[in-house]
């Protein structure tokens, strides 16, 4: 993927990216594509999904704490192995 294409994808919303990926899938599903076009659709679809996936980014984040001055600091998490209480 070229740099411009990458930048273009970054600017798109995740919904746009996904609907474009869906369009590639529908084209492939239609089964009317030539082998070259099918490869292209596949490649583009994969790039779109990769970009979407990067946007969602399932890497666990640390919880931040906000104070009334609008300052952020790391939050010292309580033990999350508890159950309902107050």
């Amino acid at each position: 993927m070229s740099e411009e294409a990458k930048k273009e994808m970054e600017e798109k919303s995740i919904d746009e990216l996904l609907s474009e990926a869906e369009a590639r899938i529908s084209a492939l599903e239609g089964g009317r594509l030539s082998l070259e076009a099918a490869f292209k659709a596949y490649q583009e679809g994969m790039n779109l999904l990769k970009a979407s996936s990067e946007k969602i980014d399932m890497v666990e984040k640390k919880v931040q704490q906000l104070n009334s001055q609008g300052e952020l600091s790391p939050f010292d998490e309580p033990d999350t192995e508890g159950d309902d209480g107050q």
Binding site: I14, I25, L35, Y42, L49, I56, Q65, L66
Partner: protein, 470 residues
């Protein structure tokens, strides 16, 4: 000694007292406020306690059958409560007690009243209108949370987000959620989060009584929620608790956990659909490649088939033609043989050479043919084959004609050599009376009768003289 008529049994006096108490309208439906002590639950499920104030106390009982409707909290000694019920006599114990229909915490009635009033007021102001509800974004990358930093609510929210969408950044605004400063703190949290990346804010806390949850019914919170530019999910208390914060928020969740699930469900769903689309793309591409593979194989076999067939036809052709050629050759040879009995090998050699050359040519062509691409080549070779065949045919025919000519020639010269032919040129042939040919002058004697053959017949004569050459 007292008058006998003034003496009553214990039962009689107790019944009398009971009748007085139970016929009193005030005592039959009364609200008594006090503090709980000696609280206990019997094996049969009835509740016993003593209601007291600074100076006095009254025993109370709430039967099991009343608990469901009349008691909405877990009472403890020291709780200030209002008991609604009736005063009656417990004959067996010889004492009067308060039979409770309903037990409420003191002051709760006041809170409920305030809640009701505020709700009506806010409803009239249109603050609960659907038109003010902001839709939740499908995809959340940053989630704001306003709650107590040490409570179960924050734990539940973090746990839930981590499980469903670990990539979502949580920004927590820690605040009190109970007590007189809570409402102000919650409102500040909502305002502070407006300036962050948060796309959704959860306002919440765990379950509790109406007093515990009261901060979420106060105006600062309600206004902050209403004014928030960022959609707010209210996750206050347990399933049954409703606060005004719930009603004014963009989305109500029954618990903080549910609020977190709602907030990140879209993100989780997106992640899932990305993975699904990924798998779909993969399988579609594989299917596509597979299909092309099959088509390719089909095309190839379709290409192979006519080619092989042509090659076979070509081979058959050659095989069929050989006997035909040999046949005509044999015919020619037999003609030649019959006519002349001449040297066969001389004639056979070039023909066999031709045949070999022809065969080599065929083999070579065959090889070249199989090295090259189908259809057109096949046609070319077919043409060439036909051409070769024609040439071979022409050659053989020419040969036959030539040989026939030679046969004729030989025949003529043969004829020229015959004795009869000589006679026509003036030569003669002589034999004795017995038909023995006379080959030299020595065979002849004077007076001998001889027969001489000339053209057209013979003569018989007598030898008159014999002269030998010198």
């Amino acid at each position: 000694m007292a008058n006998v008529s003034n003496i009553y049994s214990v039962s009689q006096i107790t019944d009398y007292i009971k009748s007085i108490l139970t016929t009193d309208t005030l005592l039959n439906d009364i609200n008594v406020t006090g503090e709980i002590s000696n609280y206990s639950v019997s094996k049969s499920g009835h509740i016993y306690f003593t209601l007291k104030d600074s100076n006095t106390q009254i025993p109370c009982v709430m039967f099991k059958g009343k608990i469901n409707k009349g008691l909405s909290f877990d009472p403890a000694n020291g709780d200030k409560v209002t008991v609604k019920g009736s005063v009656d006599v417990y004959k067996e114990g010889g004492r009067y007690q308060l039979y409770a229909d309903k037990i409420e915490r003191s002051g709760v009635g006041e809170l409920f009243r305030k809640f009701g009033e505020l709700k009506v007021k806010l409803e009239e102001m249109g603050m609960f209108d659907r038109s003010h509800k902001k839709p939740l974004p499908r995809y959340v990358s940053t989630l704001g949370v306003v709650t107590a930093p040490g409570g179960a609510a924050v734990r539940d929210i973090i746990k839930t987000v981590r499980r469903h969408a670990p990539g979502v950044q949580i920004i927590l605004y820690p605040t009190l959620v109970q007590g007189k400063d809570a409402a102000e703190g919650i409102a500040q949290g909502i305002q502070a989060l407006q300036y962050t990346e948060a796309q959704v804010i959860i306002v919440g806390r765990g379950g509790g009584s109406i007093e515990d949850l009261w901060a979420f019914n106060e105006m600062p919170v309600i206004q902050a929620v209403f004014n928030s530019e960022i959609p707010i999910i209210s996750g206050v208390g347990h399933e049954t608790d409703t606060t005004l914060c719930d009603l004014v928020a963009d989305c109500i969740a029954s618990t903080p956990t549910a609020a977190a699930e709602i907030a990140v469900s879209g993100t989780e769903q997106l992640d899932k659909s990305i993975r699904e689309m990924n798998a779909k793309l993969d399988s579609l591409m594989k299917a596509c490649v597979r299909e092309y593979g099959i088509r390719l194989k089909e095309d190839m076999s379709r290409l192979d088939l006519p080619w092989e067939r042509t090659l076979q036809r070509y081979k058959d052709h050659v095989r069929d033609d050989r006997p035909r050629m040999l046949l005509s050759w044999e015919k020619l040879v037999s003609v030649y043989k019959n006519r002349t009995g001449n040297d066969l090998t001389r004639i056979g050699m070039p023909w066999q050479m031709n045949l070999r050359r022809y065969r080599e040519r065929v083999n070579k062509d065959n090889l070249r043919l199989s090295n090259q691409s189908p259809e057109r080549k096949v046609r070319d070779y077919e043409n060439r084959l036909a051409h070769l065949y024609d040439r071979a045919e022409a050659l053989i025919n020419a040969r036959i004609e030539k040989e026939k000519g030679r046969c004729r020639m030989d025949h003529a010269s043969l004829k020229a050599l015959s004795p009869a032919e000589r006679l026509s040129q003036g030569y003669s042939f002589t034999e004795d009376e017995n038909g023995v040919p006379l080959k030299s002058v020595g065979d002849v004697k004077k007076g001998m009768a001889v027969r001489t053959y000339l053209k057209g017949g013979h003569i018989t004569s007598e030898v008159m003289e014999v002269t030998e050459d010198e």
